[in-house]
Symmetry: C2
Subunit: 312 residues, 2 copies
DNA sequence: AGTTTCTATAAATTTTATTGATAGTTTTTC
DNA sequence: GAAAAACTATCAATAAAATTTATAGAAACT
């Protein structure tokens, strides 16, 4: 048994297809066929059920894949140990970021980070929280920035900052005249909300859902569509909630529509999250340092109340 | 990086010697030299400090060895998964047994076990508790039978049985006339005790130590030397304590010197212990079943008080 | 039925691991 | 302190293994 064979098994299991898996492994398809067969012979068990199309894992196959993922990950950790010892911070690093954080946070820290850690080849992907969770679990990304807490068993979180929500209330809205808004003022029926599953806790979650159901066919809120949200709001479709960092970007006229909340200000917790195996932890810590540094100057709210991203 | 390379690293780390390690791996010494060098080149770090004689691990080397052991063990588990799925119980299995359990328990279950599981190649070694712990940790044995609880972080325990202690009190002893003995009757100065670090809790531990200090030069209690203990006792050197199963073997005359304890009878807990990675768990469970089966008929005490094997 | 898609197989080739022989060190022994 | 022994590294030769190219065969799609 070799680590390579296990890696091939993982690739086939993920792609459900020898040919595609071979491409991803940068080898030819017969290589996979033969190596996997060799492993199956050695273990004397079939890992894949080749009668099914597309190919499926057998029952034992599933367990073997889980264990194989373990072993392959743990093998990466050896290089990690060496890097850590040397204080080396470099290599490829894949970072996922949720859409509502991407456009505001990324420009704030990217230059700094690249300057400070030029040997790291950052590959950043905009991903929804669900995608992030599955890609952290299968190792397709090394870490991600998302709203927390997520309560995922195999994922660890380190809080980067708390980002308050700010109400955006267009002129014609019943609440527009209020200087400060209270959470209790919010009403389901005239609220446009963010994607990412970021809804308010308890009762307000339902509103969020109600809104989604009602509008699924009419609108499609694309990723990073905070601008769209503002425009829809301007059109009189309701008020909305903006994460604080977004309010720094909008134009002066629209700024007049911003209403801060009474304390405790509702806020979201934004964290860097990663697999519990803690691979490439030096880079994760480097990211944490840089981001915490740039945020320290940008957000200075004190009395916040964290809104869970989980719609329970 | 290959599992084989990691295995070679483990072998050299254990033997502190390339030549010996090569023998244990059934390859020649240049194979180890070259493969380990190759790994070191790839990681760009020295795992071994070859200037020291005998060879030593570098600081990174130590961490790499820990991780390598992980990976190698986890790789074995894949065959384990397959065996478990098939219900296959077989292969080589190394079992350690402490000296005071070996002569009484082994004959009771060995035949049964071999008959029931003929495909298992049992290799049994008599080992002291300390040796057992280290050999379970480095994978040199698959499981062991020892007195518990041990409170070892990486070792799991499954209780097999509770074995009461029986006093052996020679004729000339002050307690000989008592029919039943109470734990409070025991006195340091006239007790011969077992090896294995099995001492009574609290106060009596000290007695045990006192005895050892006093006699280290005069006697050497060998493994499995319960017979010796009885003979020493007969010579008037003091009373002693026998694990219950040993009392089934002694001759009729000596049986007259046996005195059971008042309830709660002091007893030791005997368990099958194994690494938390739970490799070869099917065989461990098979052993547990067979041993529990044969013991059920042999020991029928009810009110026992467990004596910890740890001399705190 | 013909075409496409996919996996298995076979032979050739490249890569990698292993060996046997030996040189160069260090340690041990007398 | 010189000779012997023990140990690791290196080199060229060999054995073993992984990979590739080419192709056959099976299943799915049109």
């Amino acid at each position: 048994m070799t680590i390579t064979q296990l890696y091939y098994v993982l690739a086939v299991a993920e792609n459900q297809n020898f040919t595609k898996a071979a491409e991803k492994c940068f080898v030819t398809q017969p290589t996979l066929s033969m190596q996997i067969q060799k492993l199956e012979d050695q273990l004397d068990v079939l890992i894949f059920d080749r009668t099914k199309k597309p190919i499926e894992l057998t029952d034992v196959g599933k367990k073997i894949v889980t264990q194989a993922r373990n072993i392959v990950n743990e093998s990466y950790r050896i290089q990690d140990i060496v890097d850590q010892q040397k204080g080396f911070i470099g290599g490829e690093f894949k970072l996922g970021i949720i859409p509502t954080v991407m456009p505001t946070l990324l420009p704030m820290f990217l230059k700094n980070f690249i300057k400070k850690h030029p040997k790291v080849k950052l590959k950043i992907e905009e991903l929804a929280t669900e995608e992030i969770i599955s890609k952290i679990n299968d190792g397709h990304i090394d870490a991600a920035i998302a709203a927390t807490p997520l309560e995922e068993e195999n994922i660890k979180e380190r809080v980067l900052y708390f980002e308050p929500f700010v109400s955006y209330i267009p002129e014609n809205h019943r609440l527009h005249k209020h200087k400060k808004i209270d959470v209790s003022d919010l009403d389901i029926d005239d609220m446009l909300l963010l994607e990412d599953g970021h809804c308010f806790r308890d009762g307000v979650i339902n509103l969020c859902k109600a809104f989604k159901n009602q509008t699924d066919d009419q609108f499609q809120l694309e990723s990073g569509s905070i601008e769209t949200l503002i425009k829809l709001s301007n059109e009189g479709l309701g008020m909305t909630l903006l994460p604080y960092l977004h309010t720094l970007d909008i134009n002066d006229k629209e700024k007049e529509n911003l209403h801060h909340f009474n304390d405790p200000t509702p806020a979201r917790e934004v964290s860097i999250i990663y697999h519990k195996s803690e691979l490439k932890m030096q880079i994760i810590e480097a990211l944490q340092d840089v981001i915490s540094g740039v945020i320290r100057g940008a957000i200075a709210f004190q009395n916040v109340e964290i809104i869970s991203p989980l719609a329970k």
